[in-house]
């Protein structure tokens, strides 16, 4: 006991993050291609689906990155939704008058202002984080409606909608895309599925998508590899210890929450400025801020994890949009396969209860798949929301939450 064996600590260590991510990606592709083959639903892995998934996953990804920054600094940011709404209005306004890049900047700026407001409330005035977040959600919605009536109605004639705005150009890696397209059309098992999914990711990609995807490794680098990031995270883990070591907790929380709002605003902009998306439209955010937060939590408060979470929700959303009820049923089938794998893993680890739960879940999903030919069309658009609930319920069990999250902190007060 007094001499801890160094080998014990090393053997307990898991695979490095990138290896785990790659492993999960392989499992996901395997499950999808098996499901698409067995259910005869090629749409599960078509390039259309993955392209839509990328477009729909972006706002969620950006909101999740925003959530990551705030929550790592110990501030719960349930106001992401409101900040995204501000971002949608801001980007439509900016893009109408100054083009896409101005639109993007305005979206970020509006989100950032929402974030600053949250920071003032939570850090300076010690308002409960949830209360402030909810207030910002209501405020964001109201402000956007008010501004839309004021600015957009005279132009578009509709207070709920902006005039058409400029969209980002998209770029394709033509050669790669064509080659993958050919491969996809050959309909070979697995190979065509992988080709289809990849093709969607290299065809008609906007600069915004590239920026957003780069933000994932960038966030990792800043938060985990720099002095600023270490200090920011220490505020979320133990502000008292951080302060005792000379870290300005207030300042770091302010920066984190403002950045969080900026990312959320960017997420809002990605709803407006992408090809195939609507212009500013009332209620277009529709809970994506919350889903982003859920994706981040599902991703265990880590950049790689939230990328997976955003991909999952984007995929579910893209699938229901491009494939409808039948495709969602096929997804149920895929989920059954995935659960089967998880059950086997849990049995190997001798986690009997988890395995039993997995079996029960798989049985229910399979029953849904078996007894229905078509899901009620009213429910289909909510597929990502269902996925959120289920995934969170399963994932909530072994999360490593920043320790001081949601706590009020006043300088100089002990714990």
């Amino acid at each position: 006991m007094e001499k801890p064996d160094p080998t014990v600590t090393t053997s307990k260590r898991r695979l490095p993050g990138w290896a785990r991510g790659a492993l999960w990606a392989v499992v996901a592709i395997g499950v999808l291609s098996t499901a698409s083959y067995l259910t005869d639903m090629p749409i599960l892995t078509s390039s259309d689906t993955s392209q839509t998934a990328l477009r729909l996953g972006l706002p969620i990804l950006l909101a999740a990155i925003g959530g990551l920054w705030a929550e790592r600094a110990g501030v719960m940011n349930i106001g992401l939704e409101g900040m995204m709404i501000l971002g949608t209005w801001g980007s439509a306004w900016g893009a109408y008058y100054g083009g896409v890049w101005v639109g993007l900047a305005a979206g970020i700026l509006f989100g950032l202002l929402g974030g600053l407001l949250h920071a003032v409330a939570v850090v300076t005035f010690n308002v409960n984080h949830i209360v402030s977040g909810v207030a910002i959600n209501l405020l964001g919605l109201g402000v956007a409606q008010y501004l839309a009536t004021l600015v957009f109605e005279p132009i578009s004639g509709n207070p709920r909608e902006s005039p058409p705005v400029a969209k980002f150009d998209t770029y394709s890696a033509t050669f790669l895309s064509d080659w993958l397209g050919a491969l996809e059309d050959e309909q070979r098992v697995v190979l065509s599925d992988v080709a289809g999914l990849l093709r969607g990711l290299v065809t008609h990609v906007s600069p915004l998508a590239m920026i957003a995807l780069l933000l994932v490794p960038a966030s990792y680098f800043i938060l985990w590899r720099t002095r600023f990031g270490l200090r920011l995270r220490s505020c979320g883990e133990s502000p008292v210890a951080a302060e005792s070591l000379g870290v300005n907790v207030y300042l770091h929380k302010y920066i984190a929450v403002a950045a969080s709002g900026g990312f959320a605003g960017m997420g809002g902009a990605s709803l407006v400025l992408l090809e195939g998306g609507a212009d500013y439209l009332e209620n277009q955010v529709n809970g994506r801020g919350y889903i982003g937060l859920a994706a981040m939590i599902f991703g265990n408060y880590r950049p790689s994890g939230l990328l997976g979470g955003a991909a999952l929700f984007g995929y579910a959303d893209g699938l229901q949009l491009s494939g409808g009820g039948a495709a969602v049923l096929a997804l149920c089938y895929g989920a059954v396969l995935l659960l089967a794998i998880i059950v086997v893993l849990q049995l190997i680890r001798r986690h009997w209860w988890a395995a039993a739960g997995g079996v029960a879940g798989a049985a229910v999903l399979y029953w849904i798949y078996w007894t229905n030919d078509e899901l009620p069309s009213d429910l289909i658009p909510y597929t990502p929301h269902f996925v959120t609930i289920i995934v969170l319920a399963v994932a909530a069990q072994r999360l490593r939450v920043p320790k001081a999250i949601g706590q009020q902190y006043r300088r100089g007060e002990d714990t």
């Binding site: 801890p4 600590t9 270490l230 133990s238 210890a241 070591l245």
Partner: protein, 511 residues
């Protein structure tokens, strides 16, 4: 060996808090490369003194000089710059960050974040005997390793003088030995240590010099090799006897509490914090438990209260009819309803809700009983009324019962608690440090109330670090050491010095 230069000199340090003098005219001289122990009882002013030296508090009078120069330490950063580092008793670590991150935090500028910092960390880890992967989360470390991380943290910032505040309080004996080994090897490397403790055997084992503090002032500095633990204990507690008291015995032969062969295993399961504890408290009797803090008194109290679950043994309490009833399996509320009143040792953690008014604090623990509750619903009006009675009878100085408990002074808070606990017509009162941190007036009142209750047949189990209090109040004193009741003393004849020796286990060797 010639006398080395003094590196730290405190001269005439005085620190007053509202109503209390924490330190008065303290002198302390620490020489380079020595392990200098500062010992004294709880509340003697050791912690305040160290906080002053670490810049967390400013002295009202007196000077601090480090390395021959007078310095002003306004905050911990100043102290660190002067080469003083402190390892707090309660660790200042972020569990969810890795060892390396914890060490680097706030000192990233010294060696950067990269290879140089890693090398420095590895060197310091080696020096302090921290054999863990720097990328492990602190959460996964044991207490001893966390302590070493704290030491590394301090050294990383360039400290040459390390304050260890009660470093052994959280360690098991083997870990203490390992820590001492580390301290000795670092001493050989030229580090200076200030070692805060009240455990005399440890002080004698590690220190080159010992400065004793009593009641806020330095009593003297001695060489631990030339004095016995008994003499040290005498310096710590002083030798004056408590004020004589009318000691007509009210002890009856009716047992109220009987604890038999009680054992409690530590949370990590590999040792017992209570072992084979048996005692009986009779009606009208005050049984005092003496012991150096951390020897199982807290655990004994909490096990009798049902806050911890006994691993073995039984607890029996007299019911109203007088016969003993086994309450080992009952929960805390049921035990309170069975007639136990409880003055908790930490009134802020256990006794009160600081952000609630006095009257709702009156309800705490009585939420199922008259007069403040009908059993299902609480009765705020009656609670207010009864709180006013308590305020009146126990002289709680407050503008009214709507005041938040946190707004009262420690003494008045304690009087409220004593009043509350004596209001439920208890058959047994468990009083853990009932007068800790309260002023003299409140102390006298609390003692008076406890004597009166004893006179009316109340059984009292008293745990205290104040030996005068123990001797003055108790009818029987049992001494607790390492989780066992080791000896018994008669308060009529025992002196605080003798008791102090018995508490530290020094009696055996020095006798």
């Amino acid at each position: 060996m010639t006398e080395p230069e003094p590196v730290v000199e405190l001269t005439g340090i005085t620190k007053r808090f509202p109503g209390v003098v924490a330190n008065s005219d303290v002198h302390l001289t620490v020489r380079a490369g020595e392990v200098h122990a500062v010992c004294g009882e709880n509340g003697a002013g050791k912690s305040t003194l160290m906080k002053i030296l670490y810049g967390m508090q400013q002295p009202d009078e007196g000077t601090i000089s480090v390395g021959g120069e007078v310095v002003e330490l306004r905050n911990p950063q100043d102290a660190i710059k002067a080469g003083i580092g402190m390892v707090h008793q309660h660790f200042m670590l972020a569990d969810n960050l890795t060892v390396r991150e914890n060490v680097l935090l706030g000192a990233e500028g010294l060696y950067g974040m990269g290879r140089k910092a890693r090398a420095k960390l590895a060197e310091l880890s080696d020096r302090t005997g921290l054999h863990v992967d720097p990328d492990t989360l602190v959460e996964n470390l044991g207490v001893a390793d966390r302590q070493r991380v704290e030491i590394v943290k301090v050294l990383f910032r360039g400290a040459r003088i390390v304050i260890l505040d009660e470093p052994t309080a959280v360690l098991v004996p083997q870990e203490v030995d390992a820590l001492f080994e580390t301290v000795r090897s670092m001493q050989a490397d030229g580090y200076t240590f200030l070692f805060i403790s009240h455990k005399l055997d440890e002080v004698r084992a590690i220190a080159d010099e010992v400065t004793v503090i009593r009641r806020g002032t330095t009593v003297g500095t001695v060489d631990p090799k030339e004095v016995t633990s008994r003499q040290l204990a005498e310096m710590m507690v002083g030798s004056e006897l408590p004020s004589p008291e009318t000691r007509e015995s009210t002890v009856t032969d009716r047992p109220v509490l009987r604890v038999s062969e009680l054992r409690l295993d530590a949370d990590d399961g590999d040792r017992s914090v209570l072992d084979d504890v048996s005692l009986t408290v009779r009606a009208g009797e005050i049984v005092g438990i003496a012991g150096v803090e951390g020897n199982g008194q807290t655990e004994l109290v909490e096990t009798v209260m049902g806050m911890r679950k006994a691993s073995a043994g039984t607890v029996e309490l007299a019911s109203s009819g007088g016969e003993l009833r086994d309450i080992t399996r009952l929960g805390t509320l049921a035990r309170r309803e069975a007639g136990i009143g409880y003055i908790a040792e930490d009134r802020h953690r256990h006794g009160l809700l600081l952000r609630q008014p006095l009257w709702s604090n009156r309800i705490l623990g009585y939420q199922t009983r008259e007069p403040v509750s009908s059993g299902r619903l609480i009765n705020p009006a009656a609670a207010r009324q009864d709180t006013e009675r308590v305020v009146e009878e126990y002289d709680v100085r407050t503008p009214g019962v709507e005041v938040l408990a946190g707004a009262l002074s420690g003494g008045n808070q304690q009087k409220l608690i004593v009043g509350r606990e004596l209001s439920g017509e208890p058959v047994l009162l468990i009083a853990a440090h009932p007068t800790r941190g309260v002023d003299v007036g409140a102390q006298a009142l609390i003692w008076e109330q406890m004597r009166a209750a004893r006179h009316n047949g109340l059984a009292v189990l008293l745990v205290s670090a104040d030996l005068d209090e123990l001797i003055g109040l108790s009818d029987t004193i049992r001494v607790m050491l390492r989780g066992r009741l080791v000896s018994e003393a008669d308060p009529a004849t025992v002196t605080p010095t003798e008791l102090g020796s018995a508490m530290t286990g020094a009696g055996e060797e020095a006798a």
